[in-house]
Amino acid sequence: MSAVVTDVLTVLGVAILTIAVYGVVRMPDVYTQLHAASKAGFLGVAALLAAVALQGDAASVARAVLIVGLLAFTTPVAAHAIGRAASRREEPMRTPGAVDES
């Protein structure tokens, strides 16, 4: 049973990461690319690590929990740093009709 759950989590993680990579190509500007690249990736990596934790020993579980915990803090900070840098460099939003309350 746990092997099936591991396979499902692995496929889910790879699928999410693939969509995240495609999102970088598909999205029109740096702000929208951030949504796909940095943060959809968090759930993808979390799913892969959950799969590792299900099959691994106690040390693997501890590392997986630690990595997910650290990613939960570092991913938003990295996304914010890139977004703020883009904003300060006055990177334009390229979607037609984009809302701008800045």
Binding site: L34, H35, A36, P76, S87, E101
Partner: protein
């Protein structure tokens, strides 16, 4: 001094967990490295001021609810962004929206920013203290007032009891 020690020991424990080691020498090395880092970066790691919180037990009891709400928001945001990336939902009007900070404490602002940015579909761009709001980029900003209402509802329902 107490904060330096707590930070140093915390970083030491993190070091041991990262190595997945039970060797006491690794713990000592980690704590020493942690203390050096805490001493070097101490001024830059100033803790954010907390708000007028309720009882610590109440906050601890509500924390799992808040964490579950954030995780649900991450799953919902990932689904929404995935649909837009795969051309199954239109990328109509993304954009920059201002969210009022209101009476949130420094720590609550940091937590709001972290929780909002963790969820795909919204990224914190800037904190504007003069105007008292957060500038977010949201993937669907077609109705900015609805975005503001959604964030305020999330804060009122889940975050206020833990990080006011």
């Amino acid at each position: 001094m107490t904060r330096l020690l707590v930070t140093g020991v915390g970083l030491g424990v993190l070091y041991v967990l990262t190595l997945a080691s039970r060797d006491p020498l690794d713990l000592v090395t980690g704590v020493l490295l942690g203390l050096v880092l805490a001493a070097l970066l101490g001024r830059r790691m100033r803790p954010a001021a907390d708000g007028p919180a309720g009882s610590p037990i109440g906050r601890m009891l509500w924390f799992p609810v808040f964490a579950a709400a954030v995780l649900a928001d991450v799953a919902r945001g990932t689904w929404d962004v995935a649909l837009r990336v795969m051309h199954l939902r239109a990328l109509e009007r993304p954009g920059l929206v201002r969210i009022p900070i209101g009476h949130r404490s420094e720590r609550a602002i940091a937590v709001s920013a972290l929780a909002t940015t963790l969820s795909p579909g919204s990224v914190l761009i800037e904190i504007d203290r003069q105007r008292g709001d957060l500038l977010l980029h949201v993937i669907d900003a077609s109705d900015p007032d609805e975005v503001r209402d959604r964030h305020q509802r999330f804060y009122d329902r889940y975050q206020r009891r833990v990080f006011p």
